[in-house]
Symmetry: D2
Subunit: 344 residues, 4 copies
């Protein structure tokens, strides 16, 4: 099944061995359900500590789209919408999950996946200056993904700018951290978990793409902002009966700071691959400091490549070229990296 | 953590060892996501075969409330509601997930958790006889749980009667099989997987409470009934990225007919416990042929019992008595059963 | 078209002549839309004065189901439901409009259409005592109709009791006043507009059934309870472009206290009809002090009656008898009343 | 109240005198509710005849946003979205009413308010070519407004092209005719009511802006496309109790072809005003053949103008100039037109 190299995405493997080991060890243990067990409590404590936020609410959900749908619904009033880059995951690849909850995604232009604070601020200013704004969807929060869908990162200064805008307009800031481990492991990032806890009304720490079997950990630094989050999760069908499984993922990922290091092999692999591609004369589409690699390839070259390697189609470039994506992950080995380089 | 006996519910443990083993073996394998992998395909084939339904659509979801919300939304028109016993899980313990999808749960009286076909038929006849029915919620489907929340079972004849009613009124029949393994393992049941596939427009085979880590397998015998189910699942935030994990659960549960046997220890344990309770003079609240045991206990007795055993509060009986529930499961051992009997 | 007497409902006629006159006079006037015009402002002032509530927000909507859907959505959190008598209009004849907004209607038994404060209190107490209440729909408000669908009335003491319960549990009290004029005109009522403004978080003053062409006036005594109500109304498609039309209805209905008197002819007519029915030996089904009359009639008698009179079928009584309803209204004349009595 | 000239919008006045007269005459008549009366039936017959579509379903709703929300919900599957120009009313000024119904508005670029058939076709082709389209919102219909929000018109050939695209992709075509009378009255239009009935799955004939007090008439040429539309309308809180009022609007508007002529004074007035503006050297922003006039004005000039005339702000042009809109309507008199020209 596995003969081809697979750089198609960062959720192709199972979980970090420590997680599998813990799941085995605790398998026949009987615990309370719905995340009320001791393992989940331990995971919560570790996450609160890593975020420097003793009072934070921490809840565990199963997947990213689910988490976004739940949290956006929890943070918005029924008549509000969410500001997002037009390339944001909620804008494009969640099959309308946000709208299914009754909320409009108010899209703004992006630059390599990033939303500019000025762009959000202009939208908000224009909205309140528009004499008809009572007939329009009120923007109630800003959604960022970090890293973005293009692998790019926000700086601490940008996060602070978004926070300031949100405070000015009385709206919420929410960060989708589906690939957060790859941001934390990137040498170019100056944003820590503590920064996220400082600037966001809520954010989630991605597990699925970052070493867990599945699971995303929502952090709400000030729990008073979202009363009854447990019931909101249940109402969305997002409450896992055997919640301890999610507890295990994050108790292990946050044991001894593993989460902040787990993305490093992916970053190293990405850098090696980009170096090799550059040396071989391939054409970078755009650069980013995390685990996704975007290159413009000749279609002829791709035909041969795809016999050996799984990659993602990103977009058509011209009649003879295609933009493709390689994704590395926490489990990418040096052997796989070398094999990819050899195959190029 | 585990010093007390735990008969509190049937989702307190992990998974059947064969599932854990398979997860370990395949952990670092890289596969396609979203259930498009070969393990999920194998699981689908096994389920179709067990249901005698080659053309069925089989999709894997994570939990029960989620599955109900997705499938009821998929089967109903926007202006329709779902008929259910007032004790149905969707009526009581899903935090309004069905209404969050825009659908009213039209509740009918129950008898030990069961909905009577006559009761559903009368509701439908009355609805169409009511001159104002265009101002009312149109009943669009019947929801049954099998076993019910009270552990009781529908007979094949009853299922056939519901099917006939549904055909007469042009509505759908859906069965929530969260605890289906305990029905299939019960000597009193005459309903097979093939019967469910024959009579239902959709049903789900419960994994979470029946030996899986998590997961429910939806079966749609005639896939034309629900086009674009994949997108509907995604829209509900219910699509698992590493779908193969769900494939593993069900590929193992349906290897060599395991699912149809896996509930047997629970049934045996329940029978032993009920026999012992009867002999010790305790008062059965009502009987049922599956894995949930309902007894009326003196509050004084309970005070002592709860030092040794986890059980569920069911309801207040009178000032001195309480109805409690013990749940056995696929993993209940003879040792645990004996220990419980000794503790009584 | 009008040859038969019509006691079928209380929305069969047009509007009070003063309203028609005002509409004619102002027809070619040009004003701002959406209720921002001077006539609507004048109507708001008159309603605030009649309610003794200078600071109240007053908004005008078109119909009853619409108003209930908007206001319940505005008052509830997304995860909350609304407590209502099982006979409440929102429970039965709004085609699931409340559920379409994502909210469960939590039904309680009724007594002649009324919800007992004790019944609501017990539900709330039980909810919070239930160990699983986090998995259930949180009750977030109490819905009353006054008069009820059975024509019965709440007393001031009952309203005060509901208010106390709502305060105790931190939930809202909302009154549907679709037929409010008939309550205010009833000699048996001790509830005034000021009382409603004192006890409710929101209520609506019915126009459609009470002398207006159409329209319902929502009163929110403390507007801070519902920020952005204008946008919520728009989002529900419930904002009338030519809002001044609604202003006209209520500016006239509240000129010189007309609304508090307009139901009197209906009450007088109902009393005369009930007296005649009693004298003729007909059998009252249940009594009420407003404009709806419920009688048990022999089917044979009905066959003749329906040649001369429109009435409403209420429910089947037995094989030979039917419960029917006559509704009087603000426009019922003495001639019509006499003609009905003669026809009986 | 009326001292200033008012060219602010086309819903500032009441109704055509024939409608007011009919309302007066029928005011105390008693009829069935909910549009089941004879006047509504007569209006339906007249509309079907004008559309050359004997079998069409015709339903009357109160306002435009409401009608769009109801009809889009009725035409789409729950997992589908609606394609619209980014300037479409549903995209901008309906406060998220479409999203509140769970549907994404999929916006496309516009040219003076119009959507190009090629643009819709490209979106659909790209969607189906995208390997991930199952994770995206499925486009299920095309929304056009005719006239558009910019007063521009689609040609018959363009409508036919949209129909072809819709047939190719199995989706619906819906036209929002809030200002339809001004299209029908424009000498530049080649689209008739019969054409709309031929090409659309549903469309609505605007009353509110076209001579009615309020009301929009939905036409569904093939009623089998939308079963149970009555209940869908009720569920949306959009069913008017005294439905005959809507019947009256349209029975009069469609008596002797009035609707097809009623916009003529508005078109004539618009042409006169544009001629005068041109002669006075003002700068047209863009032209269109209906009742909305868009000009770039110096802010200095506007300051004086607004003492005498109500107009709409459209958008900022530069620091010294503003784009404004004058709207004429069915009731605009020659005196008003002259007065505006004099004031310029």
């Amino acid at each position: 099944m596995n003969e081809k190299l697979n750089f198609g995405s960062d959720y192709t493997r199972g979980a970090h061995p420590a997680i599998m080991q813990r799941m085995l060890e605790t398998n026949m243990m009987q615990t309370a359900g719905y995340g009320l067990d001791e393992i989940s409590e331990s995971a919560r404590r570790r996450i609160r500590e890593a975020c420097g936020c003793e009072q934070a609410a921490v809840e565990f959900l199963v997947g990213g789209t689910q988490t976004n749908a739940v949290m956006i619904d929890a943070l918005l009033k029924t008549y509000q919408g969410v500001l997002a880059a037009e390339t944001g995951h909620i804008s494009t690849h969640e099959a309308g999950a946000i709208e299914a909850g009754g909320h409009k995604v108010l899209t703004l232009p992006h630059r390599f996946g990033k939303l500019a604070p000025e762009s959000a601020e202009k939208y908000l200013a224009d909205y309140y200056n528009d004499a008809n704004h009572d007939h329009m969807v009120m923007p109630g929060m800003i959604y960022l993904s970090h890293p973005t869908e293009y692998g790019t990162l926000y700086s601490k200064a940008e996060l602070a700018a978004f926070r300031e805008i949100c405070d000015k307009y009385g709206i919420s800031l929410y960060v989708d951290g589906a690939r957060l481990a790859y941001a934390l492991a990137s040498p170019e990032s100056d944003v820590t978990l503590r920064d996220l806890a400082k600037y966001c009304d809520a954010f989630y720490i991605g597990g699925t793409k970052c070493g867990a079997l599945f699971g995303e950990a929502v952090v709400v630094p000030d729990p008073k902002k979202i009363p009854h989050l447990f019931t909101i999760i249940k109402q969305h069908g997002a409450l896992l009966a055997k919640g301890r499984l999610l507890g295990i993922q994050f108790d292990e990922l946050f044991r001894d700071g593993l989460y902040e290091r787990i993305g490093e092999p992916a970053i190293r692999a990405a850098e090696s691959i980009k170096k090799a591609l550059r040396e071989k004369g391939y054409r970078l589409y755009f650069d980013n400091p995390t685990n996704q690699i975007f290159y413009v390839m000749e279609n002829e070259v791709l035909k041969k490549l795809e016999e050996k390697v799984e990659y993602s189609f990103w977009e058509k470039y011209d009649d003879d070229h295609t933009v493709i994506r390689f994704a590395t992950d926490w489990g990418t080995t040096e052997e796989e990296t070398r094999a990819l380089i050899d195959a190029l």
